[in-house]
């Protein structure tokens, strides 16, 4: 199959996700302006950082008088999950050139990651993988940046009663459903969510997501190992 076909398949797979990305992008555009930064700052965040939750964290820290160092640490902590995603994607893309992989890395995000891995795991053919990923990621990037610009322009026009920021966890629900395929994955999710809440209650701040994810990965792996052990007599 030509790569264009795979790229189209990627774009088609991510298109429904845009319904959730657009409200989040509006927030990413409106929040910096509402906190006294100019529109270019919002566009800079969405293109240079290109990771919504961390963009909002940077604006939040700086607008409440925090230092740039604290803002950077908060953003990088929130984005630590990208290391996990990178590790999870890498085995599937070893046949691609380094230059292409480094280009693909810039576009890495939750939605594209969550769509690509199950598809690649279900199909041994390696030729269309990167095209699928790029087709999905480019459409998402364009949607994200366009929504950010719209957020800059419309900003104040969106009533406070519309909980735009709540779009993020809701979209992730739809990404979570197809990866809950067996007992270990359910154990990983339940432990990951529960541990993230407990870490937050214990004062882990932006680190709680990573603490939760690590606990979930460990619990899911243990559950998986147990399942594989032959029953003892």
């Amino acid at each position: 199959m030509p790569s264009l076909t795979h790229a189209r398949a990627g774009a088609a797979a991510i298109a429904p996700m845009l319904v959730g990305v657009v409200p989040f992008g509006l927030v990413a555009g409106a929040a910096p302006v509402a906190n006294g930064f100019d529109g270019w700052t919002a566009v800079g965040l969405s293109t240079v950082v290109f990771a919504g939750a961390s963009q909002l964290a940077i604006v939040d820290v700086l607008s409440h008088g925090g230092s740039a160092v604290v803002a950077i640490l908060a953003a990088l902590t929130i984005n630590l999950r990208m290391v996990l995603y990178s590790a999870s994607l890498a085995p599937y893309l070893g046949h691609e050139s380094t230059r292409r992989r480094l280009g693909a890395a810039y576009l890495l995000n939750d939605q594209v990651y969550a769509l690509s891995v199950p598809r690649w795991a279900a199909d041994d053919r390696s030729d269309g993988r990167l095209a699928f990923y790029v087709g999905a990621a480019v459409l998402l990037w364009v949607g994200w940046v366009t929504a950010t610009i719209a957020g800059v322009v419309l900003g104040a026009a969106v009533p406070d009663s519309v909980p735009l920021d709540f779009a993020v966890p809701l979209v992730f629900f739809v990404l979570l459903v197809p990866v809950l395929v067996d007992r270990p994955s359910v154990v990983a999710a339940v432990t990951g969510g529960g541990a993230a809440v407990m870490a937050g209650e214990a004062g882990a701040g932006p680190l709680s997501m990573i603490v939760g994810a690590m606990a979930g990965i460990a619990a899911g792996s243990v559950a998986d190992a147990r399942r594989r052990q032959p029953a003892s007599p």
């Binding site: 999870s88 966890p169 739809v174 432990t191 969510g193 937050g200």
Partner: protein, 103 residues
Amino acid sequence: MSRIWPAILISGAGTYAMRASFLAFAHRIVTVPPAVARVLRQIPPAALAAIILPALVRPQGHLDLLQPRALAGILAAFVAWRTRNVGLTLVVGMGVVAGLQAV
């Protein structure tokens, strides 16, 4: 407010480094040992749930089960599970939050 550009550039560079961390060396990975693959498979459910649950039960930074987002989350989870439809999940989730805030 000029502190934001250094913050943007350094956060962007750091985030890119994390995105590229393993992808940059993928050509050296000939085969992934099955034990490692089984651990990697736990990443999506664990990471997604670790983002979702705190957003539902501690939206203001402390545990609170009696607020709109917790209830909206339960309903939205059910819709996502039955339909896998992003639009429907968003309408139900955000609609319930907006509706409960209005009462």
